[in-house]
């Protein structure tokens, strides 16, 4: 009897054992997912070969030609130069829209009268397809970098503005009342309760804005003075150099993915308190 009470109950496991099991399970899942992804990638490459063989290289370039073109474009500096030009437009346009959009959103969300007055205007501008502004931007700002930055700003501004405004306007009312009950004034409430509560919404606005910035950059480079990756894309496309075209598309894909992943990471870091352990 005494022996039984001393011994751990049958079936009890140690923490270390549980951790090891969890790690093993995650590892197994990870390997499976990665395997499936690699298979899918190989399948895509294989189907490119098939399409190339059946429909010709104008329809689909051979993956090894794309690779050869990539190496050439990277080694002679063409790609790097284009990437630099695109990044300049993208980064300036995005930063501009991030700053103006989140400030404007904070004002819209924080002051009800302002948002009530401006609401129809914001809605109207937001509903207008971004492309409609391109001629106006060209007339006002020309065809070069400034105009492209303005186009990107114009595209990314509204999602950031609207997400920030709604995040702040919809900040948890119970928490705001708690702050008020303990004597917080408006500015303290804003910085310590409403803004942190709105942060996830602001960050997703920024993520959407960044994705749109990439699109805006390419559109600007295609429709204004050709430059950067968009210009390279147009060049290759116009001459039906599909291998070169694909080489550029791959860089654009990687760029977009990297930006979104970076912002996701930032979101996760800042929202660490949300993650349940």
């Amino acid at each position: 009897m005494s022996e039984e009470t001393v011994r751990a109950a049958p079936g009890t496991v140690s923490v270390a054992e549980l951790e090891a099991r969890g790690r093993k399970r995650r590892q197994r899942e990870g390997t499976l997912v990665l395997g499936a992804q690699i298979l899918l990638g190989l399948g895509l490459i294989a189907s490119m070969y098939v399409l190339n063989a059946t429909s010709g290289k104008l329809f689909m370039p051979r993956p090894d030609d794309v690779l050869a073109q990539s190496i050439k474009l990277w080694s002679d500096g063409t790609m790097l130069k284009a990437l630099g030009e695109s990044l300049t437009v993208l980064v300036f346009g995005f930063l501009l829209s991030a700053v103006t959009g989140s400030l404007g959103g904070a004002i819209l969300g924080g002051f009800r009268p302002v948002s009530r007055v401006l609401d129809p205007y914001v809605n109207a501008l937001n509903s207008t397809p971004g492309a409609a502004f391109i001629p106006l931007i060209i007339v006002w700002f020309g065809l070069y970098t400034e105009a492209k930055v303005v186009l990107v700003w114009n595209a990314a501004f509204f999602p950031i503005l609207i997400n920030t405004a709604s995040g702040i306007a919809n900040a948890d009312r119970e928490l705001v009342e708690m702050g008020r009950a303990f004597g917080a004034r408006r500015t303290t409430l804003f910085w310590n309760v409403m803004l942190p509560d709105a942060l996830p919404s602001i960050l997703s606005g920024l993520r959407i804005g960044a994705a749109i910035s990439t699109v805006g950059t390419v559109i600007a480079e295609l429709t204004m003075a050709q430059s950067g990756l968009g210009g390279l894309l147009a060049q290759a496309g116009n001459r039906f150099q599909m291998d070169k075209y694909f080489a550029v598309v791959i860089v654009l894909m990687a760029l977009g993915t990297a930006i979104t992943a970076g912002l996701r990471f930032a979101e996760r870091r800042i929202g660490a308190w949300r993650v349940t352990t």
Partner: protein, 275 residues
């Protein structure tokens, strides 16, 4: 007699541009260091009364003074809400420091006091955890610690234990009584639970609904330190609770009488037409 700490005179509160009358002609005093409970059925304006005393809303009718002045959220008042209402992006200690910062304590002092208060509610080990890592009962304790940390003269509590399981509730009640015995701030405690009100308070304000008004103010003449000599088995306690329940049943009968009156009218005029 001592000056009342809180004085409500003929307080009336209307919502929705005067369409909803939440309170009508409510008058009572709270003395310094008194433990008073507001009891009454749902919708009788208990939360509204606490918000008025806190200075979060102002009544349309009557007057309210807290320490002789118009109430204003500030260092003399603190509220414990029905849900803990912790800032989820701040640690447990950070939440308490938030309230202390509003009182103008400096940084080093804030941390120290927060830890001391967490010790008092048995959560010192969780100072650096985030609220979501705590159980509901633990979160509620943090809410209590936050309110106590600012050393208010008046502690307002809005059904603070209602969302908790019976065991945690019982533990926290005892802790609250001990805390109150030590610090002697005035407590205005809102609850649905008659037994809880009788067990905790020195006086009970029984409210009736539609519109919220005072039904009766009942003195609870039970000896103090009730966490040691539990009065809940005594005849005096039973008498008080029976009395309160009688009043509540009477309220319910009045309510039924009203329903019957409504039933005398043709249904169509009351129910919304379909589609």
């Amino acid at each position: 007699m001592t000056e009342p700490l809180i004085a409500l005179q003929h307080v009336g509160k209307l919502f929705g541009d005067g369409l909803v009358r939440a309170l009508s002609d409510v008058s009572f005093d709270v003395r310094p260091g008194e433990f008073i409970s507001l009891v009454g059925p749902s919708g009788c304006g208990k939360t509204t009364l606490l918000r008025i005393i806190n200075g979060l809303i102002t009544p349309e009718e009557g007057s309210v003074t807290v320490m002789g002045r118009k109430p204003e959220p500030g260092p003399d008042l603190a509220m414990v809400f029905q849900s803990a209402r912790l800032l989820p992006w701040r640690t447990v200690s950070g939440n308490i420091e938030f309230a202390l910062a509003l009182r103008g304590h400096d940084k080093a002092e804030r941390r120290q006091r927060a830890l001391a208060l967490l010790g008092a509610v048995g959560l010192r080990d969780f100072a650096d955890a985030f609220p979501h890592q705590l159980s509901g009962g633990m979160q509620q304790r943090v809410g209590l610690a936050r309110a106590l940390a600012v050393e208010p003269k008046v502690l307002l509590m809005d059904e603070p234990f209602a969302a908790l399981d019976a065991m945690t509730r019982e533990v926290l009640r005892r802790e609250l009584l001990q805390m109150w015995a030590r610090r002697r701030m005035a407590i205005v405690f809102v609850t649905h639970d008659i037994d809880e009100a009788v067990y905790l308070s020195q006086r009970i304000v029984l409210l009736r609904p539609r519109p919220g008004r005072i039904d009766e103010v009942v003195d609870v003449d039970l000896p103090e330190q009730r966490w040691e000599d539990d009065p809940r088995a005594t005849p005096a306690f039973a008498a008080l609770r029976n009395h309160l329940w009688d009043r509540i049943h009477a309220m319910a009968r009045d309510g039924e009488a009203l329903e019957e009156l409504a039933g005398a009218f043709p249904i169509e005029s009351i129910e919304k037409p379909e589609r």
